[in-house]
Amino acid sequence: MSRLVLVLVLFSVVIVRGSVCSECYWNSKCSYELFATATPYDNIRGDLRDHAQDNDCKVISLWSLHRHGNRNPGVDVTRDVKELQHKIKLLLDVPDNRRSNNCYQDMDDLMKWRWNTTLENSTSYLTGVGYEELYQLGRRILMRYHDFVKSVDNAYFRATNSQRTEVSLAAYVRGLSDGDDTLNFTTAIDAPLQRDDVIRPYETCARYQDEVKNGQKVTEELAAYDTSAEFLAIRDRVQAKMFVDYKISSREVFTLYELCRFERSWDPKLRSPWCSFFTDQDLVVLEYRDDIRHYYRNGYGSQINLDLGAQAMKNLYETFVAASKSEQTTMVSYFTHDTMLEMVYCALGLFRDREPLKGSTRKANRLWRSTEFTAFASNFIAVLYRCSKSDEEELRVQFLINEKPTALCPEDGCAWQQFLNTFQVFSTAKLDFCGTNESGASHLSGRSDMKMNLASSLMILVMITSIL
């Protein structure tokens, strides 16, 4: 009898550990969280408040560039996902079709899921989640730079002309004045410009639109990606998990990915049953598609992108130079899009891989990862300090990307001269190269935007100097 017990004990192949990653989606312990430009901010950010403070240094200027927060998908994506979910839901409603290789709970969750029709008439709108992202960021800035924010002399905020950036700015401002009735930044908010050469120069740059955005390179590289072995393998795997009667196309595989990543970003648990069709490895490969698209559309794929990014850096340079000569403190924050952020990083030479990225072969350990620098609510913050060491006063500049230190400067900041060395080159940046398109249509030449640009920086200078 005791032998039987021993036999039973030896034979009890008990599945004690439920933590194997290849189990069902609903209970998987390790799930990949990185979704390129649709990554929630909290998944990749650092924290301003966790950085060391130096009591000998005082903030005299803060300049920041922000991407809007979490938003609804755009018009095209919304149309595609609506169609796909409709077709799949129809299949789910027929009991015989429900047999698939997916886990029961995941299929159950999918059956209970409903399409939210408000997505159809609020495409690209900032969501509640996005509002919260910017609100909390504003709060953290207030907490970290409390003395500076409370007493800042000149604040200037502007968003691009879109709902998601304008409301992001509003959320940010609310966070900045969190719980403090004496702080009111609403007067600092400038109206968006129809044509904004600092933070959206690419929209009105004919050459960019023709050669880059609608150019050959992007299309070619995306086509190479879409026909790559890795991507086609994903399609086959998804097909195996899909319902028997439904043949999913390559294009629809990416639409499924879009449905997955947007839906999960709105869920408090950051999960969506639509993601159950993908393994973690599939998600790693799919993440690469945005990286390729952005590399050629906004990144190192074209010199034009670097030149467009220079405009915002010129603004940063001018703001800090003015602040360095002034007794007044200034705060400038701009709200824009991932395109702009990427162009700026290229102008600064950040996240640059030695070899250009190719759509046909995925480079696993690449520097260019849109997840890292253009997730929702991504931001670039530059802080200018005046430090008093013994008898001397010196200026220092610190840079943070998504609340983490950058490769531009060491964590405790760069010397003023270093800043000048890097940024002076931007002071002469122009948009002349944008030109007009061949039909000579409505694109203004660079000059009048320069005037607008100069006007706003002059305004700041005037404000500062008039009080000196």
Binding site: V16, G18, Y104
Partner: protein, 448 residues
């Protein structure tokens, strides 16, 4: 270049923060939420295939018309609030919240700003003060969904059941659990009456009936001395140091305080949707593994192999399993039997069956990392052990087979998916001789 500056020492945000840790350690002994460890009835393949390759049984036979004729299971109640003594210790520990926040503003400790922020927002839940040990809404949900999955998996069987015995123990949490389960069976066209509880139920709670257990184990010192022994080890002391360092608190953190903080973490997180609590940010994954062992040791000696009395009390429950199945083979009736009980009983039946037994025995002397005895997987909230009796008419001789599931995952007690009746008999028949006579207080049962 830059002279050395005087920094107020605040740590850099890194993957050491709790708030942005994508996979914090999810195992919390008997306070682990059911969903963390369970499988799914509906994902267990049907016993119907003609198989050669599938190891359904040692003999190559036709299982295509097997049908379930009896199901017997024991299940623990769902997520509950802490009991009175635990609540007291937790509440005392929670008073440290303000100290910790204050230390952070002074720049002491290593906690990340976001975690401290979240701790600041945490409030004591007053329900814990008066609804001690009560089932929570989440616990109700756990049992309800269990019932739903159970009814989906065994729909045909449930529609045709002739007799049912569904009985809770005398506590609020098991009575609510059974109600939730029956709610989950809603879709089935049958009624499943809930029996009245029996005080000191000899099947579902034989240990309460047992006076000897009271004196030998509950009032005995073995479990406590083993725990104390473990609390003297380097490993455990390291946990105290870690928490001290992390929070920046200067007062000494006694084991009871650590227990309070640990319970704050694991109880509160089990009540949330996200399964997180800022109290958990006080501990690293390793700290949590060490604290998990404390409970494993406690259960091992109170309910498990640490005392041979436990397998004897467990046997009293399993006697019922054998009898119910045996009865069905004789009468052809279809029956369902279910007891809604406690982790103590679950531990005892596993001990009686001899599962998850460690050689050498566990003790407080050192933590055995690869041990089989893990309360996280044996007795999470809503833990269950299900036995299904199948009648397979197409089989040559004995037509009965038995399938076992633990937390909705099949367990192969006989080396294959199903045990033959003979194999089942060999293990479970001996329990018919089990009785609770030893429970009178005269003799001390020595551990073998």
């Amino acid at each position: 270049m830059w002279k050395l500056l005087i920094w107020v020492s605040l740590p850099l945000v890194s993957s050491k923060c709790y708030w942005n840790n994508p996979n914090p350690y999810p195992y919390f002994g008997s306070k682990t939420p059911y969903d963390t460890v369970r499988g799914d009835f509906r994902d267990v393949p049907e016993i119907e295939a003609k198989f050669r390759q599938n190891r359904i049984s040692a003999d190559a036979n036709d299982f295509s018309e097997c049908e379930a004729v009896s199901i017997w299971f024991m299940i623990r109640h769902g997520t509950r609030r802490p009991n009175a003594p635990d609540t007291k210790i937790m509440k005392k520990a929670s008073y440290l919240k303000d100290n910790i926040i204050h230390k952070r503003t002074q720049g002491k400790g290593e906690m990340c700003a976001q975690d401290v922020d979240d701790l600041r927002k945490w409030m004591w839940n007053p329900k814990l003060d008066y609804k001690r040990s009560y089932l929570t809404t989440h616990g109700f949900q756990e049992l309800f969904e269990f019932g739903q999955r159970f009814s989906q998996k065994f729909a045909n069987f449930l529609e045709e059941v002739n007799s049912s015995v569904l009985r809770p123990t005398s506590e609020q949490r098991t009575q609510q659990s059974i109600k939730a389960f029956v709610e989950g069976l809603r879709g089935i066209n049958q009624s499943f009456p809930i029996e009245d509880y029996i005080l000191n139920d000899p099947v579902a709670r034989p240990y309460r009936y047992c006076a000897k257990r009271g004196s030998q184990i509950i009032n005995g010192t073995r479990a406590i001395s083993e725990i104390q022994r473990f609390q003297e080890t380097e490993e455990f002391k390291k946990v105290q140091e870690n928490v001290q360092r992390r929070t920046g608190l200067s007062l000494e953190l006694k084991p009871n305080t650590i227990k309070g903080l640990y319970d704050l973490c694991r109880f509160y997180r089990s009540y949330t949707l996200l399964k997180r609590s800022p109290w958990c940010s006080l501990f690293s994954d390793d700290d949590l593994k060490i604290l998990e062992y404390v409970e494993d040791v406690q259960h091992y000696f109170k309910n498990g192999f640490g005392d041979s009395l436990n397998s004897q009390t467990g046997a009293a429950g399993l006697k019922d399993l054998y009898e119910k199945f045996h009865h069905v083979t004789k009468t052809g009736h279809k029956s369902i039997t279910a007891y809604f009980t406690h982790d103590t009983m679950m531990d005892m039946i596993y001990s009686a069956m001899g599962f998850y037994e460690d050689y050498p025995k566990l003790s407080g002397f050192e933590r055995k990392k690869d041990r089989k005895w893990r309360t996280t997987f044996l007795t999470p909230f809503a833990a269950n052990f299900v036995a299904v009796l199948y009648r397979c008419p197409k089989l040559p001789s004995t037509t009965y087979r038995v399938q076992f599931l633990k937390n909705e995952k099949e367990v192969h007690l006989c080396g294959a998916r199903l045990c033959s009746w003979k194999q089942f008999w060999e293990t479970f028949h001996r329990f018919t001789k089990a009785n609770l006579d030893f429970c009178d207080d005269d003799t001390y049962v020595y551990s073998v």
